[in-house]
Structures are given as C-alpha cells and as structure tokens.
C-alpha cells in the first residue's frame, strides 16, 4: 500500500527541507531569481515549501543587457504570484558605459562588475534596491536596506567543476569570498545556519538536481517557463539564459518541455556543456572557479 517515492519526489523533499531550514534560520533571507529554468524551479519549490506562499523576497540582478523577454516574463509572474521582488543594477557602470557591450571591458570583467559586484553591494544594502510596487506595477528605489544574511541560489552540482564541491549551506566571508578548502562540514541534514557578524550564507537547494531533472520537474508540475528555452521555428533555442551579448542559442528544434526532455535523454547534448552558450566561462579557463570564488552565482 505504501507508495515508493520517485527520484523527483526525493529531490523535491530535500529541496523543500532546505528551503524551510533557511526560512527558519535567517531573518534577512533572500532568493535570487535569474528568470532562468533553475531559479524558476526554485521559486516553485518555495511555493511547495510554504503551501502556495512565497514568504521570502526575490532578488533579480538586472545587468541592463538581459534578453528583453526575460524582463517581461519576470514582471508578469512577479505580479501574478504576488512576489516581493527586488531588483539590483549597477546604474553607474551603465551610465558611464563601463561594460563589455560598450566595448570598454572584457567579458569576464564586465560579468564581474555588472553581476558579481552588483549582487554583492545590493545584498549588503550599500547600493539602492528597486522594489516592485504591486499597486502601480512600478519599481521604487529604496536606499539603506538591511544586509541579507541568507541568500538562496539555484546552483546545481552537475553544472561545472567547482559547483560539484558546493555545500547545501555555504558560508561566505565578509568579502563575499568562498574559501573552498576551509568550508565547514555538513552532516546528514544538519547545516551551517549560524554565521558571524558581517558574513552571509549561500543556500543551494538544487545541488543534487541535474539539467534533466529540472525539465522533468517542470513537466510534472506544469511550471510556466519562459519560452526562450523553446524553438520557435528557426531551429534555435536557449539552453541557459544570461545577457544578450554573451549568450547564444543552441541548434535545436525542441518546441516544448516534452521535446526538450526527449532531446536531453537522446544524449544530443552529452558532448556539450550546458553553459557552452555562455561566453564568459571560456575566458575563465572553462572552470568558472575564479568568478565563483569572488561571488558569482
């Protein structure tokens, strides 16, 4: 009579457990939402964990170069699901054109500045945050926000080398840096939920999920996912989403979730890294390690 849990059930239960543990432990908790498939699944898992509610604010780091559909999708669902959404942006860099698309920075330095640095300062509250007003649909500038001490992130261990060494709860020092050799241990289902003043903890509920698991879960739960992931007739789709100038689509005719799953199962991409469309990785020797040590997600 007892049902056996499927692999997706097991993954879901673990992620829900981690989200609840984070919510219980961190008063200043935030969840990063990149609009991509992983963090959207994470958002869905939060609705699972909190029985339809999302009691944690979401943060989107908008480099100003995101694919336009992403912003549209973000705003639609933020209103629909009543999300407490905060946006962070390096307005100064954009104003002074200190960016790669403007021809003034390398991809890697641009990524570091518009994403890692912006994230760091928006999390700490040193930089302004733009909060969505659900009545007007507009974003309102807020200054002097409290620093966030718990940051939920959708990283998966199968993405690339350094992510395979992450913990579910990973303390970061006062400079947001990741000291890999000095990570505290994590045992059974007990996590490092305590943190010294000035430090914060990154929380990774999706660590055990693979790209295929993500898509299977999207299908099972019928999660509305942004359609940039699907071919719309030109034989191309995105496999990983980022900034327009540094993210390329892959050749694929998958037009819906089912076809994406079929494609992944067929092994079509088994010889191509998921982030191969993301050109900043190549500049980092393919490892992302340097970026991640310094606070990249």
């Amino acid at each position: 009579m007892t049902k056996t849990m499927t692999q997706l059930d097991v993954l879901e239960a673990q992620s829900v457990y981690i989200l609840r543990e984070a919510y219980r432990s961190f008063k200043q908790l935030v969840m990063l939402w990149s609009i991509g498939k992983d963090s959207t699944v994470l958002l869905w898992l939060a609705r699972k964990a909190f029985f339809g509610h999302v009691p944690v604010p979401l943060m989107h780091i908008d480099t100003g170069f995101k694919i336009p559909e992403m912003i549209q999708y973000r705003d639609t669902f933020a209103l629909k699901w009543k999300l407490n959404l905060i946006v962070g942006q390096d307005v100064e860099a954009l104003e002074h054109k200190h960016t790669f698309p403007d021809g003034n920075l390398s991809r890697l330095v641009c990524c570091k500045r518009l994403k890692s640095e912006t994230l760091k300062h928006t999390l700490s509250g040193e930089w302004p945050r733009w909060a969505l007003n659900h009545k007007t649909g507009a974003y309102e500038r807020q200054d002097g926000g409290e620093p966030f001490t718990g940051v939920i992130v959708g990283a998966r261990a199968d993405e690339e080398g350094s992510r395979s060494k992450e913990r579910y709860f990973s303390p970061r020092d006062t400079h947001s840096e990741w000291d890999i050799a000095e990570q505290p241990p994590e045992l059974w289902n007990q996590f490092n939920t305590d943190f010294a003043p000035g430090t914060h903890v990154r929380i990774h509920p999706l660590l055990d999920w693979t790209e295929l698991n993500i898509w299977e879960y999207i299908e099972r739960e019928n999660i509305p996912i942004i359609d940039l992931y699907f071919d719309k007739g030109d034989g191309k789709r995105y496999r990983s989403l980022g900034c327009a100038p540094c993210t390329g689509p892959v050749d694929s005719t998958a037009q819906n979730v089912r076809e994406v799953i079929e494609e992944l199962r067929s092994g079509k991409f088994s010889n191509i890294a998921e982030r191969s469309g993301r050109q900043q990785d190549a500049e980092d020797g393919g490892g992302l390690e340097t970026l991640r040590r310094e606070g990249y997600m």
Binding site: T2, K3, M5, T6, Q7, L8, V10, A13, Q14, V16, Y17, R20, E21, Y23, S25, R47, K48, A49, F50, F51, G52, H53, A157, D158, E160, G161, S162, S164, K165, R167, P171, I180, A181, Q183, P184, P185, E186, L187, W188, N189, Q190, F191, N192, D194, F195, A196, L207, D208, T210, L212, N213, E216, E221, I261, R265, S270, N271, A273, G287, E289
Partner: protein, 611 residues
C-alpha cells in the same frame, strides 16, 4: 539484452528509480579520484570532448595526464595533485543512476570527507597495493559505521605496482578485514584493481586471471537501495509552524520531514519533549491532490484538530507507537573536527533532529584513535579528529532515540563558533552525571569568601528577609508596570528593594535567532546577579517573558541559597506548583503590587509590613 535494458531506462528517464549515493574513500593518493575518472571514461559517462580536452591541457602544460583531473576541478587541486573537497559526479550504469562522491584522503580535509560520506548510502574503500593499509584507510573505515553506512566494498588498487600478485592482494585483504571486523563493518567484496589501467574497473581485463569476483561496476550495481523506513515508529521532527494570515490563509501548519514511519489523517499524536497531544486533521500540500497518508522521506505539513502551542524542534510521534527518549544528559559517541579542541565549561550548540539547544561537555569517558582503535582515559579535552565517548548536558530535556533503535533521530552535530565542529550519535540517556549548574553552585559556595556580616545581622538592620521576586508571563502583559509599582511601594515603605528591568529589550518576542540562542546566557547572568542581591539582603524584582519550568529551575539553582517568590501573570505557562501568586490580565499595577506586597508579608519577607 543489455541494450533493451538501457533503452528502457532512458525511456523511463529519471522520474522512476532513485539515484544511489556512493562515496569513494581511503588514504591520500591511493587512487580514489583516478578510479572514478576511469569509471566515467570507461562507461562513456563523460561529456564527449572532456577526456581529450583534459589530455590536451596536460600535454600543453607538459605534465602527465591523470584521470583524477576529471574530478579535481579546482585549480589548487590540480596543481597539488590532491583532492581538497568532496566532489559529486553523476554517473549512470545500465542498472541505475549514481551520484559518486569523491572524498579527499588527506587528514587535513577529513571534515570534507565526512561531509561527502554523510550523504552516502554505500562506500568504496580504496587501498594502494604498494603502500598497503594506512592510517586513513583505517580512520575512514571506522567512521563509516558512525556515519551510518552499512554497505561497503574494498578495492585494492595499483595492482600493477605489485606485479598483479595475488599474495599481495590476499595479505591486504586479511589485514583490513580483521580491522573492519572490530568496527562492525563486513565488506561485500575485496576487488584487486588497477584504476589507472582499468583492470576490474568497468571490465575485468586479462591482468588478473586468478580473480573471479565482480568488477567495481558490477559491485556498485550490487549495492542495495535502502528500503524506505516505514516499518519503524513515526518520527516527525517539527521544523517550523506556519500561519500566513496576511495572505488570507488561516491554516496553522506544522511542517517537517518524516524521518521514519507513517502518518495518517486522524492519528492521535503527541509532541516530545512537551508531551502535548492532538490529532492530525489534514495533510497539506501545494499543487498536489489531497492525501490521507504520508511516509518516511516526505517533507510534509499537517494541521491539527485540537490547537496546541509548541515550538519548532519538538518531535511529533504517534500515541500508539513507542515514544522517543527524553533527557537532559546524553551519552554519545562523537567525532570532533574543530580546530579548537572541545572543552569543559564551554557553551556549544547542539542540533539534533530539528531541535537546537545550548549544550555542555560534562564527561569524557574514553577517547579513541580511530586509525589505531586504541583508547585513552582521563582526557580533559577532545582534539581534532578524536572520536570520543562522552556525556553532554542541555538545560532542558531533549527528545531523541538511541542510535541503535532509530538512526535518524539519534544523530546530532555540534556548533562551535558558528560552524559545525563535531558530529555524533546518541547511545542512550545518561543518568549518573551530576547536574552542571548544581555542581557549579556547590563550587561557588565553597570558594565564596564570606564576610563576617551574617544574613541574620542584615535582616535586623533592614527589617526584611531578602528574596528574588520573579514576575513571569507572556510578553506585553504589564509585567514591567507591576514591577515598577511594587518597587515604589516597597521603597516608600523604607525597604531595600531594586527593580532589574532588562527583560523586554533583551528577551522580547521578535529577537532574532542568534539572540534566541543566548537566552540561556541571559538567564544565567540574571541568576548570578540575583544571588549577589539576595546575599546582600535585598529584595530584587525582575520580569521574564515566557519563562518555562526549566528556566525557572536555572534561576532557582543559581540564586541558591537565596529565596524566590514567583508571580505568574496571565497565561504564564508555568506549572501551578511553581507559582506563588497568580494574577489575571489585564493588570492594575498598583492593585497587583498590593497583592504581591501582602504575599511578601504573609511569607515573612516583610515582617513589620502593614498597609
């Protein structure tokens, strides 16, 4: 035949069978990462260009290719040729999917090995045929048992360096079997392999015709998935209690993951350690059909028929099944990973199930060197990498199961200086160790330098007997106003009285978690301060929100031999026997102060008092 199986599996995808987590452990440099790299390469599990890319990179840097580089992704790892942190790799055999956890072998990174192994259901222990059984081969082997891993195989690696000699293999097998037997682990197979050359890894090869057992790949597929723990009594540690009233949702949901057993709507349940009882009204879920039953492994939320007030950290069980143990003193077996040793008289934080509680080391019974299985007695502290049997003490009872009965609710970690520094299993409740605070007070009374002024002399001078007046009750019930009114009244009557008004700012309801952990420290200081005041012949008035019986006991113990008068306001939550005077809310401060003053007179604290 096998292709049919394979395509079957691909069709079903990963929604079906669960992944199996396997950890690869052993002494430094014995070839763990190489074994995994080789396994991935030989089963075509690597992204197609990956092997060539790593080979090309090695050629470019003019260093020999290592299969280990496929795993050791960190720059420091590659330059030092060592694994620093456990890596997870996803791997698929014809039978099922795996997460292989590549643990580091260097003692410096033992905490990383333990983090990796604690996630595993089975282990592969790798031993270098040339170097033989080494310190960390044994230490890792011993820790498996404590981590709760019951299934293991042993690979005797680098057989090429031993000329594929069967005698070398047999010698290591008998030596290591003997060791493992003492730790209660019986490996299913010993497999002679050459990870570098791939013999007996994914395929047998022709180097060791004398061996007819399984390859590593076959042995992995032979591990059994642990059945869900539904046969055991229900254990649901309460992680949190939600009520999203602002979103128009009035459900009061108790959330947590079922560790063992089965839960059904209508079950009569009891929370431990509080002992509160209720009945399951519903099992809640978002975007899922309603269910009437949930079992081990599920992260659930339930509502109750009769509302009870409990905090996160309690253990929910069924009344028709065996209850957990509750105790303040636990006999445990723990291993320590902190840089600072574990010492007496230091406050640590215990996490067991979903409970979090301050804890102190009370006794060290034996300390074990896990690599030699030699024990030491009479140690005063527990050092990094020690395994120790000891006694821990909390302030309030904690609910658990002895590890031999239910592993999931019998294991814990210890936090030192914000980080997990130790982990272990509870053997049983301890009943023989002296209570920590009583022992402290005994010591304190012994070493306290007494003046020649006796309590009696003070009483003559002040015309009163000293006492501590504790006003307890829920927050925002006018306790402070009462305390002030009482102080004024007694002061006006010429009494030696002082109101210590720290409560609400320090102990308010909206304090954050880290301050919550410090509540016990606040109470300790309050108790010590009260002792000085009562010893000095004063009447000390203080207020504490949500004081429970155990906390009150802390105050009483520390204030000893001073006396106490406990005023319970509103729904104070203390046992009736603990309270000397119960006052109803709303309070009229001066009227209530009069009642307390009368009681003080009645009890002869204010012998000459009259209104």
């Amino acid at each position: 035949m096998s292709t049919v199986l394979e395509s079957q599996m691909i069709k079903n995808g990963t929604q079906g069978a669960q992944k199996m987590n396997i950890v690869i452990i052993g002494h430094v440099d014995h070839g763990k990462s190489t074994l995994i790299g080789r396994l991935l390469a030989d089963t075509q599990s690597l992204p197609k260009g990956k092997l060539e890319a790593v080979k090309a990179q090695c050629a470019y840097h003019a260093r020999p290719f290592e299969y280990a580089f496929l795993l050791d992704a960190l720059k420091d790892e590659q330059s030092q040729g060592i694994t620093i942190d456990s890596a997870r790799c996803f791997f698929k055999s014809k039978k099922r999917e795996y997460i292989l956890i590549d643990a580091p072998g260097h003692i410096e990174f033992l905490k990383n090995m333990i983090s990796g192994a604690a996630r595993a259901e089975a282990a592969v222990l790798v031993i270098d045929a040339h170097e033989g059984v080494q310190e960390n081969s044994r230490r890792h082997g011993y820790l498996l048992g404590m981590l709760g891993i019951r299934q293991a195989i042993v690979c005797v690696n680098k057989m090429d360096l031993a000329g594929y000699d069967r005698r070398v293999f047999e010698r290591i097998r008998s030596e290591f079997s003997a060791f493992l037997t003492q730790t209660g682990i019986a490996p299913r197979h010993f497999i002679p392999i050459s990870a570098r050359d791939g013999f007996n890894v994914a395929a047998a090869g022709d180097a060791m015709p004398w061996y007819d057992g399984p390859t590593v790949l076959e042995a992995l597929d032979g591990f059994e998935k642990e059945p869900p723990r539904v046969g055991q009594p229900l254990r649901l540690p309460i992680q949190d209690i939600y009520k999203f009233t602002e979103q128009g949702d009035n459900r009061r949901i108790f959330a947590g993951r079922i560790e063992t057993g089965t839960l059904r709507v209508g079950d009569a349940v009891v929370f431990y350690p509080s002992g509160k009882r209720s009945t399951i009204a519903s099992i809640e879920a978002f975007n899922a059909p309603p269910v009437h039953e949930a079992t081990a492994g599920e992260a659930v939320g339930v509502t109750l028929r009769e509302q009870v007030y409990v905090r996160p950290g309690e253990l929910l069980v069924r009344t028709d099944e065996s209850p957990p143990a509750t105790a303040r003193q636990l006999r445990v077996n723990l291993f320590w990973m902190g840089r600072e040793p574990m010492i007496f008289n230091k406050r640590y934080l215990l996490k067991l199930g979903t409970a979090r509680a301050p804890v102190w080391l009370r006794q060290i019974r034996t300390v074990l060197d896990a690599s030699e299985l030699t024990t030491e007695r009479n140690r005063r502290h527990i050092q990094r990498h020690d395994v120790a049997e000891c006694v821990l003490e909390t302030l309030k009872p904690i609910a658990f199961d002895p590890t031999a009965e239910i592993a999931q609710t019998g294991r814990f970690v210890l936090i030192d200086n914000y980080h997990i520094a130790g982990g272990g299993v509870v053997l049983q409740a301890e009943s023989n160790a002296a209570d920590r605070l009583s022992e402290h007070v005994q010591q304190r009374e012994k070493s306290w330098r007494r003046s020649r002024i006796t309590p009696l002399m003070r009483s003559y001078r002040t015309g009163q007997r000293s006492t501590l007046v504790v006003i307890a009750g829920p927050p925002q019930t006018g306790k402070a106003a009462l305390a002030q009114a009482l102080e004024e009244k007694l002061f006006a009557a010429g009494r030696q009285v002082y109101y210590l008004g720290l409560d609400n700012s320090l102990l308010g309801m909206d304090e954050d978690i880290s301050r919550n952990y410090l509540r016990d420290e606040y109470l300790r200081r309050l108790g010590e301060v009260a002792h000085v005041f009562t010893d000095a012949g004063m009447i000390l008035i203080t207020t504490v929100s949500d004081l429970d019986s155990y906390e009150l006991q802390v105050l009483r113990t520390l204030n000893h031999p001073g006396e106490n008068l406990i005023i319970g306001v509103g729904a104070h939550g203390l046992a009736a026997a603990d309270v000397d005077l119960k006052l109803n809310v709303p309070l009229n401060p001066s009227e209530a102060a009069g009642q307390v003053a009368n009681l003080l007179t009645e009890r002869h604290y204010l012998p000459e008092y009259y209104l």
